[in-house]
Symmetry: none
Subunit: 397 residues, 2 copies
């Protein structure tokens, strides 16, 4: 038996007066729910507000309090960079600074193609540290510092708004390593500004790409591989860099799907096809759709509802037809009324041949609260998956 672990990002919601899951017409998911056992999932711990990074780590069985050290390394891995133990990585934005103030955090929403031209200015040596920049989509990229005695405990240079100066980077602990990393970061940001100021590629740009804003510092450390820990061969079908990054961090295989843009336009059928093919070779295929969360952050109820309906129409029939086992849930609640992550639990559905069922007939926040699984903790999900796949190990005899 193979299993699809399907996460719709930010799926959970609050009623206004219905939640998007309640309002959406989703006959396929609901029919599946009627043949499943359901419950409410607390991704990290009850009423802790999860990040997408910490939540996915926990749902894959990696306690984020042990295995999470900032988003930077996960993003860097997600865009294909190779990391070594001790590397410090940041997420980076090409930005426009005018009179010392951040004027545009995205350098006029610079295109991927345009942004690529600046990549060559952004890798350099600072003291004994090698800084390597890699461009990803539009204004986004990641920078990795490689050298002796670095540490991820430093603040952002990205002020997260316009009209203010880029922040100076500060150490957040007393270690010599954090102090060195902050110093390197500030020197790097300054060197980048000088190089970009003279870049001929900025000629004619209304909003020149003349600064790099850094955030989410973290120090990479190799972790025990997913297959080694759980005896499950796993692959990842996800459009977003972060999700690919989490999976690379755990040494899952990444399947790249043409048309999987990781946003609202993503090609769901292409993703579904890739999942079906991967089921032949892997014990578990992790499938991730980002757009449910993006609509939530935009406060767009109709958008989220219609995205759920599109998933039900375009993706679910393929998944159901595969007769693979399924675990379907979200990584956290992002209510359209709040536009941010909250600590509310998320509905979860477990379906497999021979598994127990309950009496719940619909997959939503209210119905699944009556489900047979009750309140499930994030760390329990991987054990449920191991039980379904016959990969558990008995404790005792």
């Amino acid at each position: 038996m193979a299993l699809i672990f399907f996460i719709m990002d930010g799926l959970g919601d609050l009623p206004t007066p219905k939640t998007p899951l309640q309002a959406a017409k989703k006959p396929n998911i609901d029919r599946l729910a009627a043949k499943s056992i359901t419950g409410m999932l607390h991704p990290i711990a009850p009423y802790i507000v999860p990040g997408s990074d910490t939540s996915h780590l926990q749902l894959f069985g990696y306690d984020p309090f042990i295995f999470y050290s900032g988003r930077g390394p996960l993003e860097a891995l997600g865009i294909g960079m190779d990391l070594q133990d001790g590397d410090v990585a940041f997420r980076a934005n090409l930005a426009t600074v005018k009179n010392g103030m951040v004027a545009d955090r995205r350098a006029g929403r610079i295109s991927t193609e345009e942004a690529k031209k600046f990549e060559k200015y952004l890798s350099m040596r600072i003291e004994d540290v090698e800084a390597v920049y890699q461009q990803s989509v539009e204004h986004r990229g990641a920078v990795v510092f490689r050298g002796k005695g670095l540490r991820g405990c430093v603040t952002d240079t990205d002020p997260h708004r316009t009209g203010v100066e880029p922040w100076e980077c500060h150490p957040t602990d007393e270690s010599a390593e954090a102090k060195k990393t902050a110093r390197i970061t500030n020197k790097y940001a300054e060197a980048v500004r000088k190089k970009l100021a003279g870049a001929p590629e900025n000629k004619g740009r209304k909003k020149p790409a003349n600064a790099l804003l850094l955030r989410g510092a973290g120090c990479y450390k190799k972790v025990p591989y997913f297959e080694e820990r759980f005896r499950i061969r796993a692959a990842c079908v996800a459009g977003g860099a972060l999700y690919r990054g989490v999976c690379r961090y755990l040494a899952m295989d990444i399947i790249l799907v043409p048309g999987d843009t990781g946003d609202k336009r993503t090609n769901l059928k292409a993703k579904g096809k890739a999942v079906l093919k991967a089921l032949e070779k892997y014990d578990m295929v992790f499938l991730h759709v980002k757009a449910t969360d993006s609509f939530s952050h935009d406060g767009d109820f109709e958008g989220k509802k219609k995205m759920i309906e599109r998933i039900d129409r375009e993706l679910m029939p393929m998944l159901i037809k595969s007769s693979a086992a399924m675990v379907i849930t979200g990584d956290h609640t992002t209510p359209v009324s709040v536009k941010e992550h909250t600590g509310h639990p998320v509905p979860v559905l477990v379906h497999a041949k021979g598994e127990r069922c309950d009496k719940v007939k619909k997959f939503d926040e209210i119905s699944c609260a009556q489900g047979g699984l009750g309140n499930v903790r994030g760390k329990e999900i991987i054990r449920i998956i191991q039980n379904i796949l016959g990969k558990s190990q008995k404790y005792g005899s």
Copy 2:
């Protein structure tokens, strides 16, 4: 008030399309369920696959991660051997070895009477260690090593199948104690083979008892007694050596019941009578029936279903009539479709005069998932029992 803590081994199951508990006609248990509060029990932790030994420890309030050190000592205690701190004990099988290979792991299912004749060859001194063997039922027994500097961290010599050599014993940690224990074990196994090879009792046996296979090594250490920790005077009515062993480990009293064979033929009425008598003297009587698990391991749905029906018919009326409080559950799920323990929760029922009830009317895996207790952790059971018996201690004032 006195309480019966009734565990049906491996009781939990999966639907095919009903579970044995759902399929069984069990009017007495169901009538009791209607007057009880129910829930689903995770014996160790959610979706961790329990052994019978670790699970019973946890259900008695002893965290197995602290108090469990292998099955050997529990089995040795269960067949009546006395252990001292630092003793290492194994479960042992009389076996037939031919041309160096294990030909029969049970020496032709040797009878208890025949096996008893070999006992005298199996206790001896190895270096400064005293090895003591005791026979139990058929090919089964236990061996205890008593001496300075021993440790239970060693592997089995029982290869758990035929057609291969008995395994050499290896230490599983780097300690000098584990190394010594492995050396003693290998010397003992060799000495046993020499003694049994010349035993006149093997003359005429098609499958001579010419080797002893050892497994489940563990080091005994006295633990705080059950009555001391929980202020509950407890007795045990169980046929299987392991369950008696766990109870002796915790210094509960063991009540031996004639006809309680610990298998499918066990005399349930005799067990019931013993429980009723013990209720006069003890706060809690632990009642264990093994056969539900045995039928599960055999993949015998009808057998398990009929065993439940027999329990309902022969045992439950006596227990209910006693008007004792009751906690009824299993120590783990053993689905007949899987034939091994799994990590699924088990239905649990708590009944006592004056306790809360819920709306659940049937005692099974699906109904009790709607129960008022919700998801119960193994470690919580003893606290529930303490509350019922008025033996809890307030935390704070």
